[in-house]
Symmetry: C2
Subunit: 348 residues, 2 copies
DNA sequence: GTTAGCACTCGAAGATTGAGAGTGCTAACA
DNA sequence: TGTTAGCACTCTCAATCTTCGAGTGCTAAC
């Protein structure tokens, strides 16, 4: 889109003013405020042009102008400047990143909480699984006579365990045999590759320990399936209500209901490549409930095989520059956190 | 409080009507609706008495009556009848109780979700730790040269693990020695009982494996500390907005903000004994934000040593009978779930 | 003790009005 | 040709007023 420099400055002034005040912006305000030495009348002419271009809108005849979604898009693509983080914010974010207990889940949910607090918008964080994960290591531990702990560790360095009861009696040597069998036959496989034939073969080899073998394998399958699916954390949802566009409950409630649905957030679009951001403005969203809402989301890497998302949901009148800068910082921090330490705690 | 049977019936009619409609109830409505063969005028007289007793209130002169907190309290204590659960509800609850993967956390958070869906109010669930938990069993597994998995199991049959890097080289026999040492010296102890002197003694015994020993023990301490503290799940918060008393945002927002605070819910009162319920009506709550809100909460047992809470937050005009019945059913179900299977999955 | 009748109260909802903000248009100016 | 001042016009918001109706308390009759 080819627009004169002056029009750009006016558009930008309108948008930034509107972002701060949530009130339609009039020509007079711009003339006084935006450091352009032109009269309100001239600005009115320019604004009329910008309206014809579809970048501004009028709520009604005698109100000022507000940005249209197209206007926001133009702003985000071409006008927006890098926003600086304050020192407090950087400290705050760093603190969240360096939690003592670096459990994957907890770091991620804490990330979402902090982002929400800093941006004043609801924030969500997702860790998505990857396509091919397999078990790398099995271990069986006896606790007492009929009680065992099954421990499995996946490719993604996640370790899980389960306490089980087994009716059979097992000697230490049988247990050790079973351990060997599991590690020899069931590592490096995806759930789909664990066929009934394979189980049958294992059955013959395991003998009396068959029950425990089945339990261990099906636990492993559960773990893998669970890694494939993803966890969603949402924080600060009621913050939406702090913004004037949601003072109206009929507007706010469907949105809140939608966002607190289990799957709403995991179906949002994702940035094309790690390290980039995606900004969806109003009608660019697919979901009906998000038509007046914008989503800003950044992606990060979790180790080598998994990815995560961290994003913010807010009104189209959102401070995109500020939000984007903070998400970017956080996403980078998370990527670095999980990369420096491939053996980040798989505890769970 | 001594009240004539007729007054009780009128009070009950007012309350149940108000619970359903959220509108002040007039004498005419009661006369037509409540199956008492008396005229509105008589009912007016009785209602005036009930108002003098502090059981009813008038929002303003020419509105009907609404129950006062004291009125609700009387209703809950003496008038309320057992509410029956529908077959669908029973099924729904049972389903949630018998999740395939019986991870403690997940069952509890699912419980909260289902209760919220059924009652249409926000619901919370808490698992509180108990006073003296110790480690029952340690296990160290080698994954590869410098990488180990630490597994600990607590009294409460919770098993946790962590993946660690250790710079030292350890032979299998050293590892097995360390396993023995850990199980001999550090089981049956609370975090407070693991003294520096004990660590010093262990240092001499462990030799080169000291690093791993320290890591394992401090992990164990973390786990125990974590068990002592408690997890809070909150679900369906936006449901509050579906109720007419929160159509007014100035009313709703402070409450939402309060409830979404980390610690708000864990500080609410608890029932005196397991298997009972506690109902807090409006001003009976300590927190300022809950003055117009009621809390209904039931407790359940998690195994032998831990306890849990499941509760609902809503307007004072809450269908106490219905909510209480559902919570009671669920709390009982949870207790039974965790008791039948002391070795419920300690996976985590 | 119960009931009908009636005057009275008070809030909710609608209608009316005035003020103010902002626009588009026109005509004058550089 | 681009810019500006002036002016009539539009439309919302908030305040004020009015009306309507539901519900009450009181009194007197049953």
């Amino acid at each position: 889109m080819d627009i004169s420099e002056r029009k750009k400055r006016i558009l930008r002034a309108v948008i930034e003013n509107y972002i701060n005040t949530a009130e339609p912006v009039g020509s007079k305000t711009i003339a006084e405020h935006a450091g352009l030495d032109i009269s309100p009348a001239t600005i009115r002419n320019e604004m009329a042009d910008l309206e014809n271009l579809g970048l501004l809108e009028q709520p009604h005849t005698s109100a000022g102008r507000i940005p249209s979604p197209k206007g926001y898009r133009f702003y985000v693509n071409e006008l927006m400047e890098q926003h600086r983080l304050s020192i407090q914010e950087v400290n705050r974010l760093n603190e969240a990143l360096h939690l003592k207990v670096q459990e994957l889940d907890r770091v991620i949910s804490e990330a979402s909480r902090v982002v929400s607090q800093i941006t004043k918008y609801p924030s969500y964080a997702i860790s998505t699984g990857c396509s091919r994960i397999t078990i790398r290591r099995f271990a069986l531990l006896m606790v007492e006579r009929h009680r065992f702990i099954v421990v499995v560790m996946t490719d993604a360095s996640v370790v899980k365990n389960k306490l089980v009861h087994i009716a059979n009696d097992l000697s230490p040597s049988e247990l050790s045999l079973l351990n060997t069998l599991l590690n020899a036959s069931f590592t490096g496989l995806t759930p789909e590759e664990i066929t009934p034939e394979l189980m049958k073969m294992a059955e013959q080899a395991a003998g009396a320990a068959y029950d425990l073998l089945v339990t261990a394998v099906s636990f492993a399958v559960d773990v893998l399936r669970n890694q494939e699916s993803c966890a969603v954390y949402l924080s600060g949802l009621p913050r939406l209500l702090e913004h004037p566009e949601y003072r109206n409950l009929e507007r706010a409630q469907p949105l809140l209901a939608y966002l607190s649905q289990e799957n709403a957030l995991s179906n949002l679009p994702v940035p094309d490549t790690t390290g980039t951001m995606k900004i969806l403005i109003g009608p660019e969203n697919v979901a009906q409930e998000l038509q007046d809402t914008s989503v800003v989301v950044a992606s990060y890497d979790i180790g080598e095989s998994m990815k995560g998302l961290i994003g913010v949901v807010g009104p189209t009148r959102m401070d995109y520059a500020k939000v984007a800068a903070r998400l970017y910082y956080f996403a980078e921090g998370l990527s670095r956190l999980f990369e420096t330490d491939d053996g980040f705690s798989g505890e769970h």
